[in-house]
């Protein structure tokens, strides 16, 4: 299963990538939302993990655009966010996201959490 991971913090990006790789995912990483929109057509990932807060284009805006484009609207989007407040989650779901995973995430269970959220949709 191929994941597109957008995370601006290189260390977090690395840990997430390794953790997901260990869980059996193929992971493509980018540093911001603009790159996600540029790469999504080429990579055709099974799911996209978006950091909520990123420079240039944040996760929320990126998700909105992904869902607005019929070519990418079907790809499940999962947010990585420090603000796991109900209101934020509700906003994300309203955008069509599959769910949210709280930051800081647990490296050993990150893959399991992604799978759980994908299975739910």
């Amino acid at each position: 299963m191929k994941l597109l991971l957008a995370e601006d913090e290189p260390d977090v990006q690395l840990i997430a990538r390794l953790a997901l790789k260990k869980a059996g995912f193929t992971v493509v990483t980018v540093g911001n939302g603009v790159e996600v929109l540029q790469r999504v057509a080429d990579e055709r990932p099974d799911a996209i993990l978006l950091d909520w807060m990123m420079p240039d284009m944040d996760g929320y805006e990126t998700c909105r655009r992904l869902k607005a484009d019929p070519a990418t609207a079907a790809i499940p989007v999962i947010f990585l966010t420090a603000r796991v407040q109900e209101a934020e989650v509700a906003r994300a779901i309203a955008l069509g996201a599959a769910g949210c995973i709280g930051k800081p995430f647990d490296a050993l269970t990150l893959g399991t959490q992604v799978l759980e959220l994908l299975q739910r949709t």
């Binding site: 913090e9 977090v12 840990i15 260990k22 420090a82 800081p104 647990d106 490296a107």
Partner: protein, 609 residues
């Protein structure tokens, strides 16, 4: 000498003089009456002398007639004359005063007897001539003596008259003297003292007083002088006290005006501001004259508590301060019509009169805008720093977890070191999470999403969370849920956080192979109680009160094992109370502790139990 003694002496002298005068009068009167009596006797004597003379003449005449042979006087008649003469001669000496007169009379009498006894034919005539000569001399001398008596009596009378007139005059003079004496020794000094008293009343202490003689007036004078000294000293003290009071007042005034705290003194009777300093005037303005203007003035700003609840500041103060309460450091917010909001720290105390009556109140308002700002900056700082710390720590933790999971270290020591690094990283993350929670709670920014949740949902997730710790500590987790316990209305994540915290604490202190029990039951007033009981060492009673305070960690053998942040229970307490519940603890040293939290039951959702 005492004045009393002197007056007694003078009055005694006057009385003695009066007595003496009376004696003199009596004496003079006696002498006058004696002289008068003597005069009477002299008159009687003259009469008797005259009688005696006549009888001598009669006797001589009758004798001569007999001798001449003329018409003789009968002898019986002559004998009768003789008898009369003898009687007279015998009586007369009684009226004679002097022995000489008596001797002369006796001589005359002797010659008479010689004359009578003379024989007929003898020269009786010659004898008679001698007798009559003697008698004439006698008579003449007595007559002159009578004159003396008269002079004596009249002189006595004059004396007596003079005395009668003189004594009262002397008495009057003596009385005047007495009055003058009393005036001099008594009234003059009294007058001088009363004049002095008037001058002192008028404020002049420069007075002349009678000399301090050794008597009652001297005592009075001394006492008066002491009184003047005392009054002067008292006045000096009063003056000094006034100067000190004025100085204190000026100092206080300057202090009140200088402190950056708004000070207001309110009069209880009028409800008006009696005194306020510049800071207060800047804060709430000057209270205007006139009731309508004052009402408008007080409506120009509103007062609320920190939470925004409106406060009627006058009722708020009067209701408590006039009952004698003191207000210490309460927070109020003044909102001006122009939009300014000033947070205030208010302290106030009633002002009492000497008799204890509350006559007003003094209130101090401190503008704590800057404190609020500092508090806000602190929260922001803590929040930002914590977030910034958490991100790299997460990376470290993730990296370590992945390394350990892959068993990259060939040397078991390396694996141990990696585990040490991981556990310390996890601890650091927990500390940061706790600090974030506390700062959110204190800043009032923690949002709770309370919803009905079945008890077993809360309990199951909590137990799952601590299962690995229990396993490692060889402690058995027991669950006791009362049948038909209602669902609870809580923020699920926070409720789990609370139970996990209590369970982790219990597991830390629980000895190996003991039980930690989580029990759930109905509590009073629509609440559900969750209790976590351990069989640890227990907590000393004096430590129980500290448990829920920030950064309190109990000492003991388990310290190393039980290292936490010192914030856990403070967060538990805040989270539970924010959801309307309560936290309590019971502990017996040597037997263990039970922590109980209560949370509201959800009435609308049935429990799955």
């Amino acid at each position: 000498m005492k004045i009393r003694t002197r007056i007694f002496a003078v009055v005694g002298l006057v009385i003695a003089a009066a007595f003496l005068q009376a004696l003199i009068v009596v004496n003079v009167e006696e002498r006058r009456s004696a002289a008068a009596a003597a005069l009477d006797r002299a008159i009687w004597r003259l009469q008797s002398q005259a009688d005696l003379g006549r009888l001598i003449v009669e006797l001589d005449a009758s004798q001569r007639a007999a001798d001449a042979g003329g018409p003789a006087v009968p002898p019986a008649e002559r004998d009768r004359f003789w008898a009369l003469y003898e009687r007279s001669a015998a009586l007369l000496p009684e009226y004679l005063d002097t022995p000489e007169s008596k001797r002369q009379l006796a001589a005359i009498d002797a010659l008479m007897r010689e004359w009578r006894a003379a024989p007929a034919g003898s020269d009786r005539a010659a004898l008679m001539g001698r007798i009559r000569g003697e008698f004439d001399r006698f008579e003449t001398r007595e007559r002159s003596r009578l004159g003396d008596e008269r002079i004596k009596v009249s002189s006595q009378s004059l004396q007596s008259t003079l005395l009668t007139l003189g004594i009262p005059a002397v008495a009057i003079i003596m009385l005047l003297g007495l009055v003058a004496f009393v005036a001099r020794i008594l009234l003059d000094p009294l007058k001088s003292i009363s004049t002095s008293a008037r001058r002192i009343s008028a404020g002049t202490f420069d007075v002349s007083l009678p000399p301090e003689s050794n008597d009652e007036l001297g005592d009075l004078s001394r006492a008066f002088r002491e009184m003047i000294t005392a009054v002067q000293r008292r006045q000096q003290e009063v003056t000094e006290a006034r100067i000190k009071a004025e100085r204190d007042h000026r100092r206080l005034q300057a202090t009140i005006e200088t402190v950056p705290v708004a000070l207001v003194i309110v009069d209880a009777d009028t409800g008006r501001i009696a005194l306020q300093n510049r800071t207060a005037a800047a804060l709430i303005g000057q209270e205007p004259e006139g009731e309508a203007a004052r009402q408008a003035h007080w409506r120009a700003f509103s007062v609320t508590t920190r939470d925004g609840a409106p406060v009627d500041v006058r009722a708020w103060g009067a209701g408590r301060l006039l009952q004698g309460q003191t207000i210490m450091g309460e927070e109020l917010v003044v909102k001006h019509a122009d939009g300014r909001e000033i947070p205030l720290l208010v302290s106030a105390a009633p002002l009492r009169e000497d008799d204890g009556r509350i006559s007003g109140a003094v209130a101090a308002f401190q503008d704590i805008t800057s404190l609020y700002e500092v508090d806000r900056l602190k929260s922001e700082f803590v929040s930002i720093v914590s977030h910034e710390l958490r991100t790299p720590l997460t990376s470290i933790k993730g990296a370590l977890q992945l390394l350990i999971e892959d068993q990259v270290a060939s040397d078991p020591d390396h694996t141990m070191l990696l585990n040490v690094a991981l556990s310390n990283t996890e601890r650091l993350v927990r500390i940061i999470n706790d600090i974030l929670d506390i700062s959110k709670i204190e800043a009032g920014k923690l949002e709770l999403n309370a919803r009905p949740h079945a008890v077993d949902e809360v309990v199951r997730q909590s137990l799952q969370n601590v299962e690995p710790i229990a396993h490692g500590a060889l402690v058995a987790l027991k669950l006791e849920i009362e049948p038909a316990v209602p669902a609870v209305r809580v923020d699920l994540d926070r409720a789990i956080q609370v139970l996990v915290n209590l369970l982790s604490n219990a597991l830390k202190v629980a000895p190996p192979r003991s039980d930690v029990t989580l029990s759930v039951r109905r509590a009073a007033d629509g609440f559900v109680a969750f209790s976590v009981t351990d069989r640890g060492k227990g907590i000393a009673p004096d430590k129980l009160g500290l448990l829920f305070q920030k950064f309190q960690q109990l000492d003991g053998a388990n310290t190393r094992k039980a290292r936490g942040t010192g914030l856990g229970l403070a967060i538990v307490k805040a989270l539970v109370e924010m959801q309307g519940g309560q936290v309590s603890v019971e502990s017996t040293v040597g037997h263990g502790s039970t922590f109980t939290v209560t949370v509201p039951a959800a009435r609308t959702v049935a429990s799955s139990q």
